[in-house]
Symmetry: C3
């Protein structure tokens, strides 16, 4: 999609290539053109996987549906490493003609993703903040603008940036556990969700619900999230994966080309807004996050989390 | 309305004038100024009708409410002829000071309108495609921007362009028959609803519902259409006409001037967007529809329809 | 907030200063910096009040929550005097660091506010109309753009401009009395709500509900207003004030800075639209209201009100 033209390597930190720390079962050579007869020797290789430190990807070749599992303990926080590997994995799937849909879920119990990693925003250099924020932008541009069918199978809580990941998919299914919560709760931490988080949220729940939820920094329980339209469906946790696969299959029944153009038409203006203001948005983030008052409140929050843990 | 300034004759094909093939009971001479005492000799002429090949119009002079019935068998498909006659009839009503509201309904059982006529988009010349698309635009500009009260009495299924006609009215009442369905299902045919179909849809059901429905090419059953706000009301089919008349009367109780300015304020930005990009939109349509892959899929779809019929 | 940069005195009519007709208990000298220890002599002064002809303001210093009561009999109509005093009072609270939230309610039974004062729009000079309209704009810019938490405790009917006041708050609680109604019913009077009334309404109830409600000039009963999202909550009238205080307290639990930036992000584009077109909007109002047909219909409406009263 034109809205997210940059390559994942643009956000890779110099000297840290390659990011995929495990052997990849799945390269260009293995790719097959759809419609061509499948080579007999590949008949058994129906499930290809690749993995890096932060995510595990399994592609079911029969259905063309991949599953990306977040596996960054303890809470799948969106560190620079996580975001980089997420983007590279997503790009790999995007470029793979055998893959047409992706399910995002967590390999860690009770948490989908805890959102942006606060350690990346606290006590670091200006350059680091800029690099981190660019990776956050890149992640959203790629996911919200993905030409694949994207479904979030939300099997745990998903605050802030975790909620953004879910909001950026085509469809959201959440485990119907009232203890799991989801929302853009940035305001509770004294920070402000950027305008493109807000745009994405408004596109899902409408202006009024977004205005109230953002100002109060609401974390909505699963049933409430369903009631306000933040998630599309609740299912028992054990049925989450099957339901997600069924939904992707339903969306894939449509001709790719028409579905992709339609998706682009719906999302383009919001994607374009960030693309047009990307550097400005990074500068805004840096000047906000480097404020002593903000640094102080983030340090206090981290202290609190540490105490809670021990 | 400024948003739809062109005359219907702009879309009339050269050499095909006049389009109204039946005698018209209703010309300028018969028009009365509202507020003036009605001439005694006209007391019996309380219902004026006119008709052409594709639509039948009846105007009740007492109430100022016209009914336009689609009568183009087998399925009221929106051919160039249909659209042209629709526009001319609508313009005639718009210019008639005795008419303040219109009910749109179908004279054909089980179908409101099947949407754009695929035969107009398949195997024709570039010029023809351009002319056809301009007529589709004109229809929407006139209907969505009409200064009259417009109510769709949806007495049958209404896919694609048929759904657009309904969406462009001020109010939608549907027969509560669960076998009837409605939706912008273009994606199922491998084509993409243009941005102004999308804008009209979003204005009715909101961004999230539109995004999902358009990508899946949903045809919603009447009850579902009501649930998502695509239609405002369901009534038993035999009560559809009476209900529609009551709704128009309710809207006409407001001062015309205030109601019209309010309607224009709500719809102007969306109408203006097409007016500003009209030629570009025609070129987009032509370059899309002339793609061999699209032509092929439309031919296959027509074959399927033919087989179904026989 | 940048969107409402002008001072209230800009709208004050020359020679009519000062507007606060009663002694003010509360000036700059009495203001305390939050966080500083409170002077012992002030311990009893926990409730500060000030008042003018049109509104009564009480500030609870413990909670930082003010209540502004409309007290302009018979129906709290929004006269130039009312709007001027409203703006001055609001500015005073806005500049008071001891005040972080405001509850708006009526001191008059059964009516919250009857909306714009028709006597200001009928039989006056062009200059007067301009001055009046600027005050209406200023009121909205200040209230919709307020950095304080604003809650409407709607203890009576609230048509037209009264509804706008409520819509401009962060949250709306209405007495659950089905006899009380609320809505932007301008169309019923033959006039048109300006675009920024419409924008504010759409931000609360969405495009479709707004389009229908504005065209029909609907006054929604309290239960219906709740159903369409025009008010957030219904409570028995005797619990209205406590509920409003609890809601403000809930919103104030968030860090002010984050909440204010979030609110600004949600409302800025709509505020900016009026700021950019303010003079044009005044001219539009003047040329509309000075039309003989409009003047006539307003005169008739006033006659009707007078007869109803006697």
């Amino acid at each position: 999609m034109a809205a997210a033209p940059t390559l994942a390597r643009r956000i890779v930190r110099p000297g840290v290539l390659p990011l995929c720390s495990r052997p990849q079962a799945w390269g260009r050579a293995a790719r097959m053109s759809p419609g061509l007869p499948r080579a007999p020797g590949l008949l058994l290789a129906q499930r290809r996987t690749f993995s890096n430190d932060k995510v595990l990807v399994e592609l079911d070749e029969g259905s063309g549906i991949a599953t990306m599992k977040f596996k960054s303990p303890p809470v799948n926080s969106l560190s620079l490493d996580f975001l980089t590997e997420f983007c590279i994995s997503l790009e790999k799937l995007e470029n793979d003609r055998g893959c047409r849909g992706v399910i995002f879920t967590s390999a860690i119990p009770k948490i989908f993703s805890s959102g942006l990693d606060i350690t990346e925003m606290c006590g670091k250099s200006t350059e680091h903040y800029g690099e981190f924020w660019r990776a956050v932008q890149e992640t959203w541009l790629r996911l919200y603008g993905s030409s694949m069918v994207t479904v979030a199978a939300i099997n745990g809580s998903s605050p802030a940036g975790g909620c953004l990941l879910a909001l950026s998919c085509d469809y959201r299914i959440m485990a119907e556990n009232p203890k799991f919560s989801i929302g853009l709760n940035e305001a509770q931490l004294g920070i402000v969700a950027p305008f493109w988080f807000k745009d994405t949220f408004v596109n899902v729940v409408g202006h009024r619900v977004a205005e109230r939820s953002l100002q109060l920094g609401c974390l909505h329980s699963a049933p409430e999230a369903h009631r306000i339209g933040l998630v599309d469906e609740l299912v028992p946790e054990e049925k989450l994966r099957d339901k997600a696969a069924a939904v992707v299959a339903q969306w894939l029944a449509l001709p790719d080309h028409a579905r992709q153009l339609t998706k682009s038409m719906m999302r383009k203006s919001v994607l374009d807004r960030l693309v047009a203001h990307r550097e400005e948005d990074i500068q805004n983030f840096i000047s906000f996050i480097t404020k002593e008052s903000i640094q102080k409140s983030l340090r206090m929050y981290m202290e609190m989390l540490k105490k809670k843990k021990s």
